[in-house]
């Protein structure tokens, strides 16, 4: 599921226009044309799509080097979020807020 989300975000990044669909999960995104600006677009795209925030320690080139690498970072964030007390999760495995008192 996360792989699909990541791929959808990559499809919207101009650097990878037209071939985000055909990239393998291990393909080097920088070799495929992803620029520094494009990396920022991927980060912001994923943060908007998943409602998460990449911690400063994850803001490295390695974190965005392939679809698998990005998914590994996101899975790490999921674990951290779960350990912080999240219970209910959405379709992507992200903790969702409990019901609010009206």
């Amino acid at each position: 599921m996360l792989h699909e989300t990541v791929r959808n975000v990559l499809k919207g990044v101009g650097d990878l226009a037209g071939h985000a669909d055909t990239l393998s999960n291990d393909a080097d995104l920088f070799d495929a044309g992803l620029s520094s600006y494009g990396t920022v677009e991927v980060m912001i795209g994923l943060e908007n799509a998943l409602g998460v925030e990449f911690p400063e320690t994850a803001l490295t080139r390695d974190s965005f080097s392939s679809i698998n690498a990005i998914v590994r970072v996101l899975e790490g964030l999921q674990k951290d979020a779960a350990a912080a007390g999240g219970k209910a999760v959405d379709a992507n495995g992200w903790p969702v807020a409990g019901e609010t008192v009206q």
Binding site: S36, T39, V40, M43, I44, T60, R61, D62
Partner: protein, 312 residues
């Protein structure tokens, strides 16, 4: 190994006060904005000429610019995306008599006289290489061997500071190289060696180190990490205002194909060209010299004086 003895400690504010007291710089009341004396200007000019002598054989095309550049060229560069905190824009009054009367009557809360200012088609130049790219792009494909430009301009960066080495407006002398990745890497490496030799000749205790631009915000952290991991930017560093925190007096940058994509600069083969630049902040080098050798230029070591003011 450098055997140059460091100048005694002096705080940034203390150094600035000395520069004012001795009449080398003139205070304006705004941090980072200073008038220059004849002595200071002669020093900046000597540093500029030294760079020119050391690079004369490069046969670079000379381009000199005023301290503003086109807004379209600035927007294409992506500078506002990366470093919005440093940008200085130019705004102008474009109204008629009635509008003029209205803004003169505006209270400070209503925006005062600036209430009707509109962004102009020019902005303050952030780096002397920026006006070069649109000019090269407009010429079409590069020659087979690439191209080399020697640029210079006053530059603006909005970072007021009591540190005299951090001016809001300062001059840059910068070479800009266009060509293959191999040519740009060789250019970057050559300039780092040349700069170290230049600073040695000036008696300055310099080192070079990997660096990154001051990219803005969280995305900026990602950009900075990427820049470092690809070893795209190096600086030449000298103690000026703070012996514990060296000041960059020059930088040697490989932009990959960022500017070629931004401006449409093509190599001889029609592919996006690679670019790099190597530049010096002239006032910073002048301040490093004053800091290291003292405020009395006549008393500087003869070897340093001969380097800066060679006898004909």
């Amino acid at each position: 190994m450098s055997t140059i003895e460091l100048a005694p400690r002096l705080s940034a504010d203390g150094f600035r006060q000395e520069l004012f007291t001795r009449g080398l710089l003139f205070a304006t009341g705004v941090d980072g904005l200073y008038g220059r004396s004849a002595t200071f200007e002669s020093l900046v000019d000597a540093v500029d000429r030294l760079i020119g002598r050391l690079s004369a054989d490069d046969k670079a095309e000379i381009m000199r610019f005023p301290p503003i550049m086109t807004r379209s060229g600035f927007e294409a560069s992506g500078y506002f995306k990366n470093m919005p905190q440093l940008v200085g824009t130019v705004h102008c009054f474009c109204g008629d008599d009635r509008e003029h009367k209205r803004v003169l009557a505006c209270t400070p809360e209503e925006g005062g006289w600036t209430a009707a200012q509109q962004p102009a088609d020019v902005v303050l130049t952030p780096a002397s290489c920026y006006p070069v790219y649109p000019i090269i792009a407009a010429r079409g494909r590069l020659p087979e061997e690439g191209w080399l430009v020697d640029s210079s301009s006053y530059c603006f960066r909005r970072e007021p500071s009591i540190d005299p080495a951090r001016m809001q407006m300062f001059r840059q002398r910068e070479q800009v190289c266009f060509g293959t990745p191999e040519r740009i890497r060789a250019f970057q490496s050559h300039w780092m060696s040349r700069a170290l030799e230049m600073f040695r000749l000036m008696g300055l205790p310099a080192t070079t180190d990997l660096a990154n631009d001051p990219f803005f915000g969280r995305p900026g952290l990602l950009m900075a990490n990427g820049q470092r991991s690809q070893r795209l930017k190096f600086e030449i560093l000298v103690p000026i205002s703070d012996p514990d925190r060296l000041s960059a007096c020059g930088s040697f940058n490989y932009h990959v194909h960022h500017f070629a994509d931004a401006y449409g600069i093509s190599g001889a083969d029609g592919e996006a060209a690679h670019t790099g630049c190597a530049g010096f902040g002239l006032e910073r080098v002048a301040l490093a010299l004053l800091r290291q050798h003292g405020f009395d230029i006549e008393a500087w070591p003869e070897a340093v004086r001969t380097t800066l003011w060679p006898r004909a």
